[in-house]
């Protein structure tokens, strides 16, 4: 039941009661793990470190590929490179049909780390010199929370919104964190809204996938009530996106590009 340390301590800018000071925050890591079954690549999952063998076995179990321990012959983990090989007693025919299922039903991106290769390579730094007042960001995250009627009713949804310096422009709730963000970004395209003076708000965590979505939409600032991951912070830094987390009440933490936030 012991766990490795799943986070890194990073420097941030802390904003509270209108005061700004440099600080440090513990930020959770995101690590890719590629699983091979009998030398055939099965999946790449983005996960926290620790329990890699358990994850691979649990994933195969959840996918109906194995039923019990007897079917597993050997497990080899190369932790530093994020690679894991499972050898099974008899061939797992679902490894091939898993691929076919992916083709047939085509599963969306989910928790995969495809973007480590494809998405990030195609991403261009966001070009915007727009600045946003810290007090306005906090006001808008409060409005997002107030508007989340379904969350209050069910506790079961994520919310996301698009805003500019005049107020909220669009807001969606969805059971999926990714879906809520995609609905907001789709709204912006369908309504021909220029992204460079807008910011993306969300109730949930900012993982690398969410950050990449903002990057594809050329949004210069991402604001969340919750925590970011290390990888999201690194990508935000690299692609010119201000990443602001734990925005609640009169406090928030700025993880990247603080020059975009007027504090």
């Amino acid at each position: 039941m012991t766990q490795k340390q799943l986070y890194q301590d990073r420097e941030i800018i802390a904003y509270k009661h209108g005061e700004v000071k440099p600080g440090s925050a513990s930020i959770v890591e995101e690590i890719p793990l590629t699983i091979y079954v009998n030398d055939v690549e099965l999946a790449t999952l983005v996960c926290s470190s620790g329990g890699h063998k358990e994850l691979a076995v649990g994933f195969m179990l959840s996918e109906g590929m194995i039923q019990n321990h007897e079917e597993i012959k050997d497990i080899t983990l190369n932790e530093s490179d994020g690679l894991l090989w499972i050898e099974t007693a008899s061939p797992v025919k679902q490894v091939d049909s898993f691929l076919k299922r992916q083709i047939t039903s085509c599963c969306g991106k989910g928790r995969a780390s495809l973007y480590f290769v494809n998405d990030v390579c195609n991403l261009q730094p966001v070009q915007s010199s727009k600045q946003f007042a810290a007090s306005h960001l906090l006001k808008m995250i409060g409005a997002l929370e107030e508007g989340s009627a379904t969350f209050r009713k069910t506790g079961g949804v994520h919310s996301a919104a698009l805003a500019d310096n005049t107020g909220l422009l669009a807001m969606y709730e969805d059971i999926g964190r990714h879906n809520a963000v995609d609905k907001v970004l789709g709204y912006a395209v369908l309504n021909r809204l220029a992204p460079d003076d807008k910011f993306l708000l969300l109730s949930g965590r900012v993982s690398s996938e969410i950050l990449i979505k903002a990057g594809h939409s050329h949004i210069p600032l991402v604001l969340s009530r919750s925590a970011p991951t290390c990888l999201a912070v690194d990508l935000a830094d690299q692609f010119g996106i201000a990443l602001v987390g734990f925005a609640r009440g009169d406090a928030m933490s700025v993880y990247s590009h603080p020059e975009k936030v007027i504090m």
Copy 2:
């Protein structure tokens, strides 16, 4: 900025301060939406109702398949069947390469609804007559919370555990809700633990995918600090799994198979 009602009111058993009474709860819906681009199937997403066109456009934008509104010629939505067709001004070559990416990098299941067809058909009802005391369930969810060191430090992870009537047996934290559960279920297999007298605990929401994971592992009870979805409740009902949500302090809600909970 108006939203449809994203939930249904369902009957539950409410447990609080040791008292049991029938009640009603608003439970969020999960709906599959299959997106076709120029008549080629792109993806099936599980989402909340409303904003389907925005979701499809935002998804394509996030995947780098479109850049702006001019590339979209027409969008047709058949809401009752969960089908949406996007016609683009010029061919989107990434729709094919999206499939290829899925094959190459093989992305895990994520938010897709593959399981509506494949997983549920293969699932057998859980065979267990084991009962669990409500007071013990609450004690264990408290232990899960206490053990979540990384969450307290970073706010950025989900936790999951396996327990029986003696206490917690294994516990994992992960940035991914699915990963945390898969690690727990993988631990059970690797340590040859029989599932029929165990229960699965998690900090996060119980979506249909989580419920199906429990079903594949033959776990008779799922216990969460958070909310379930309607589809998870329906599947739990169907597959003989007791689903208990909002377990916090001395209160919890039983959504299915209350006979497995001694109240």
